[in-house]
Subunit: 122 residues, 2 copies
């Protein structure tokens, strides 16, 4: 009650920042998208993402699993077989990414125009 400062975004929406942290990662977005096509094995993900290192693929999938966005299923066979798929929660998050996609499709040309204006003058 003492401070007159306007509430910040973090005060009013404490989870927005954490949600951005969830998805604001190159590999997370890639993995979520590939998995939106259906269940994939580790090797498939690695091939289809293309330029991801093993270290980062493993770390990304572990994080997604921990956050309840991806399901990890291990089959006790040799050689090992592990399948990854989106959870229902992960699917809803993909819907939100779709929302961002729409904005970018509609407005990113304006961003690029602003950039070239800025770079030309500055």
């Amino acid at each position: 009650m003492q401070r007159q400062q306007p509430t910040t975004l973090f005060d009013s929406h404490p989870y927005l920042r954490q949600t951005l942290d969830l998805v604001a990662d190159k590999w997370v977005v890639a993995a979520l998208y590939i998995l939106s096509h259906g269940t994939k094995r580790y090797g498939e993900l690695q091939r289809e993402i293309g330029d991801i290192s093993q270290r980062m693929l493993t770390r990304t999938l572990r994080d997604l699993e921990r956050n309840g966005l991806v399901d990890r299923k291990v089959y006790p066979v040799v050689p090992p077989m592990v399948e990854y798929s989106l959870t229902p929660l992960g699917q809803t998050l993909n819907q939100v990414l779709k929302c961002l996609c729409d904005w970018s499709t509609a407005n990113f040309a304006a961003v690029e125009a602003a950039r070239s204006r800025y770079d030309k003058i500055g």
Copy 2:
């Protein structure tokens, strides 16, 4: 036509990644939100964001300006006075952040539940 690989997210939505790069930054989100309340001076932004360094505030505002999201107006007076405000483009982007806010409000409890489950077992 030769490769059978599914298209990646980057192929089908070339701007999604760049759009995420636009907003997936702690200070960007903070600045956009503060500015959604109206025009602010440099010092106001610094105080209201709270724990941002001068270096990062300046860099953040310059990026936002370059991307056409924020308008920077300099008044030729002493001592200097500079005002920042959202452009119409920046306002539309704030709508998208609202979309993320809604998701986080509805679903972040599930994320935290998944985390404590994972941490307890693992």
